[in-house]
Each structure stands twice: as structure tokens, then as C-alpha cells.
Amino acid sequence: MKKYLCVLHDYESGDFCEPGVSKMPSLDLQRKAIDVLLQKRDAKQVQELRTGTGQKLSTTDLNFETDQFSGIVFFSAESLRTKNREIDLMLFNSLYEEFAEIFIIVESISIENEQEYLSVSKRFIALNYCAQRDTSDEWKDLVSQVTIGGKNQ
């Protein structure tokens, strides 16, 4: 039976930030979702880690023997995000070096080979560029210039 390290995300209580989702997923709900995935893969969880708002996973959290795990299961990519919403690519890369398999349930990400890793990793690069641009003052200034009724209209 395969053994997995599982990572839950402790969301701040309250409404979920996206429309259509009434509340933040509780830790129990996250465990249930992870159990479904583990059952499908005939696997079991042997260790659980937890991240929180502004507290993504860090390589220092993996201060134990990782060889015993077939893979790592995240409930959400929130556990990999920095404060400015970028995915921590260095962390993601080091996870791939440590674990043969990476699953992220909410985002339906499944990595079991190098091709899948490269595909997801490159998407994260594009995503991070967008996050950097969208939060930059230069972008906000550009939008205000080209918006109807904006500086240049």
C-alpha cells in the first residue's frame, strides 16, 4: 500500500472569496476529500501537515525522512502560494525532487511523471507573471490610462 504525506490548509473563517462557494472548507472536509483520493489510489496517509493564510509550506517543514512516501497530496494550491498570490516555484520544484507523485485536489492537478511536472511548472511560471503584473503599480497606471474615461481618453 502506498503511503502519502498530506497537506491541509487552515483557511481563515468566513465567506470564501469566490462567488458560488458559501464558506471556507473546514479541515474535516479537507480530510474527507483527501481520503477519497487515497482510497482511489489504494493508499494511506501517514503524516499530515498544515499551512495557513500567509503561511505556505516550506522546505523546512519537511524535516523528516521523505523516502517513506510515494507522494504528497495537497488539498489546495493555497499551501504553495506566497503572500502576493504567486506559486512558490522553488518549493514546487524541490517537492518534485523529493516526491515521485504530487496531487492537488481543488485544482485537479496530478503529477506522476516528468512531462506532467513540466507542464504544470510552466503554467505556474505564466501564472506568476500575471500575478506580478496585476499587482504592480505600473499595470494599475496603464489600466487607468486606457480605461474609458481614464487619463488618456
Binding site: 472569496c17 520544484n93 485544482e107 485537479s108 492537478i109 511548472s121 510552466k122 500575471c130
Partner: protein, 254 residues
Amino acid sequence: MNSTFSKNGFEIILADDLPALNELQKHVRDISYKLIGAETSENIIGDLNSLHEAFKSPEDANSFRLKLTSQLSNQVDTGTKVFEIFRSKLEPLVGPDILVQKTPNLVFQPPEYPIPTELHRDAPANSPYEVIVWLPFVDCFDTKSMYVLDREHSQIAAEHIKQNPDDKNGFDEILLAHAALMEVPFGSALIFWSGLFHGSIVNKEGESRLSLNIRYKNLFSPAGIKDQLRYFNVLQTSQLTDLGLDFQHREQFR
């Protein structure tokens, strides 16, 4: 190309690949009839128009819709298929690096069904850089269809809400005066910008409406509040983007 879209924020477009659309329609009909346990006929559109006869309550109809959505998503890569069917109109809008909504929404609107789609616009919270494809599997007209407020009047309506948040009557007046029910025959689709107000009313036409809606945007477009990792898959990337991302990846991790 797409000058109507640019002015109004919407356009009714013809399928580039009608045989592929016919195949998708047949697939939807076949799954639907398997779910309701009824025999199909030679008349696919007739079968879909009369789907409502299988349901006694809105709850039954909604349960059917959810099962149909799930089965269609499992059996067909709908996002790719719809894009291919309308590629010549969609690719100039979103560019060659494309994200597609992970799971399309299926809407089943039986006659007199009391819960139409409420008036809303997708952006915000969705990105204002998205295009929605509304694809009916039957001929849609009058109340069997959906309505949109064009770009100009969506902007007027949005301003009205901003200035007069409690004036529902004033908002309804704008809606009544300017919302247009779309005539979208099977074989075509309504594409519209995510910033347009849209919705539907009770279907009074005596036939079922079964339609699909799905969103496309550029990989590099601003995300809006809806997280692109959660709601969108990469449909395709250009050769140049592939080279750039490969270069960036090697630079970071070699």
C-alpha cells in the same frame, strides 16, 4: 471580423464545423435519453425539444441536469470540441494561448420552469477578459432563449447601480427598455463579453431549452477573483509561448 462583437459585446456566430456540432448534439441527446430511460427517434432536435415531458418537478429536472453535466464532462472534452467548432471566431478574440473553463455549465429550461437564470454579469468577479460561448442544442427564440444588455446599456446599468444602489425600479426600466432576447438557431452560438448583463425569463414556448455555456480567455489575461488554476485548463499555447516558458523554466531550474 467581430466588429459587431467589438461594438455590442456580443455576436451570434455560425459553426465552422457543423458536422462536429451535430455529433455533439447527438451525444447530448443520447446521454439525456439514457438518463431518462426513453427511446430515441430519428429527430434529434425533436427529442431534445420534448425532454421536459420526462419530468414532474423542477427538482427532477435539475437532478437530471447535474447528471448530464457530469456524464458529458466524463465522456467528451467539451471545451476543446466547442472551441474547434467555432475556432475562426474565438481565436482572434482570445489569441493563441488559451485557457478554457474546466467544466461547462449545462442549462435545462423546461417550459414554465419557475427558476430562470437571474440577471447578472460575470465580470466582476470573473475576469473582464473572458468570452462566454452560449451554445444551444435546440433552436432558441423569444422566451426560450436568453437576453443580454449590449455593451453600451450594460455600462449605463452598471453606472445606475453604482449611483443609485437602492433604485431597483430604475434599473428594471433600463433592462425592460434595452434587454434583447437573442434568436440563436441550432448550428450557431451566442458569444458575449463577460461584462454584459444577461439572464433568462420563464420559457413560454412549450419546448425545452437545453444549452451549454463555457468560457475562454488568454493564458496571460488578468484573472479576476476567480482563480484560474481552479476554474480553467490550458487548451493550447503558441509555439512562441512554448519556447518562452521552456526557456524560463530552464533558467530557473538548471
